[in-house]
Homo-oligomer: 256 residues x 2
């Protein structure tokens, strides 16, 4: 049952003053985290930076060389504060050029006369970039080397990632099983720690909550080997029962 594909890592760079000022609540981090996990890509790091060229360039160059893929969101519109394409060109040390396919897509959408200077700005891409077209909205997104530029507007971001998903290399799927123990986390901390030590291939996460006057702990086991995951799950449930904890195992017991 265990998959032997090598794992594939990714980072996400969220670009935009509006996220850091609190004006806008980011909706892409959670969506992309779920999506990448579901297709077998391991999201290892997220950064949020302002519309600041030096900060974008530094983050892009660190992240694209540290992980298999880098996704950026935001800053791809036609206005002065949309500097993602320019910053990517600087990061790669290449000129920013008009991309023929993107221009053609825009001409199709707006007509030749609607191809205003502002719209032409959106067809600029770091030299060597490849168009990642979204057939539904014609929003041009670009890929250069291992970096994908996605829109900040959530609906467009989602459409873009859907379009490019078939082109991504993926690793083994991370499977998960979860249970809830109705007790305080500190009571079972030592028990969880022993179980973690006994199952090196599985990662055990524990997330306490306090709701309606009751303490509880959601426990999530994650790993790529289904047999080992099931074994660790059974061993943990058995230990918790022996300890006397009231545990709840959801039907089908596969979270995420």
């Amino acid at each position: 049952m265990s998959e032997s594909k090598p794992s594939v890592s990714a980072a996400l760079l969220v670009i935009g003053d509006e996220i850091l000022s609190g004006r806008t609540q980011d909706k892409n981090i959670h969506f992309l985290a779920n999506h990448l996990t579901s297709i077998g890509i391991d999201l290892r790091e997220v950064r949020v930076v302002p519309d600041d060229e030096a900060m974008i360039v530094a983050a892009v160059n660190t992240l694209r060389t540290s992980y298999d893929y880098l996704f950026t969101t935001g800053g791809i519109g036609p206005t002065h504060d949309d500097i993602t394409a320019l910053s990517l060109a600087r990061a790669f040390g290449v000129p920013l050029v008009e991309h023929e396919d993107a221009l053609a897509l825009m001409a199709k959408r707006y007509g030749e006369t609607g191809l205003t200077p502002a719209r032409r700005l959106m067809a600029r891409v770091p030299e060597g970039g490849v168009l990642v077209g979204d057939p539904e909205t014609n929003s041009p997104g670009f890929m250069i080397d291992n970096v994908f530029m996605l829109a900040g507007v959530p609906a467009i971001c989602r459409a873009m990632i859907k379009t490019l998903t078939p082109h991504l290399r993926t690793g083994p799927h991370v499977l998960s099983l979860s249970m809830t123990a109705k007790c305080k986390e500190s009571e079972i901390a030592a028990l969880l720690s022993r179980q973690q030590e006994a199952s090196a291939a599985i990662s055990i996460g524990s997330y306490p909550y306090f709701r309606g006057g009751e303490y509880g702990v959601n426990i999530v086991l994650r790993g790529t080997d289904e047999v080992k995951l099931q074994a660790a799950f059974k061993a943990l449930a058995s230990e918790l029962e022996t300890y006397g904890a009231d545990i709840i195992i959801p039907d089908g017991a596969s979270g995420e």
Copy 2:
């Protein structure tokens, strides 16, 4: 009207596998971004990293030396995957020690006999750390140098930041004014760009939307000088009217 206090910068480090796997949706970034903006602290960068000591240490050391303050969220519970205090100790090159005030707070809450080994783990702090007590929940949080360890559980995180806010140095408040132009962003991109060039002290952000079949752009002007902000706002509204855009100015016109 303009404030002349020096600006104060901050970074936020969100720690937790569960955010990167998509299991949990972070709720602290948006809250802290709003809160810090409202008290006059400029949030300049956010990073999300897994429960991985090396990655936490590297991020802590970069961020605490780059900004006036660093806030961390997550990883402060009693279980094996709660490694924030340990990682902070490594980052500062100091031992992790039991903190007397935190132990006293816990003894008060749980009684001497309820002070289990797992609970004692939560009273460990990098040597030199100072307790940031939350009087409501007795959740111990710590400050070491310019770094604050906050809880990942949103309600506790909020209680903690409230407790420590009076102790933070703050800079000038960023004021904002906003309007909506009912047109496509690309139509007014050049106009916005000219206005931005004319008002160096003000930052103009433009956020397009598409709702119910209608295009529009939310335009936000931000700055610390109220007189310059008002002047830039009026100039922009006048330019947009001259252009023929249908604009909406909210009553009181102060966003965020």
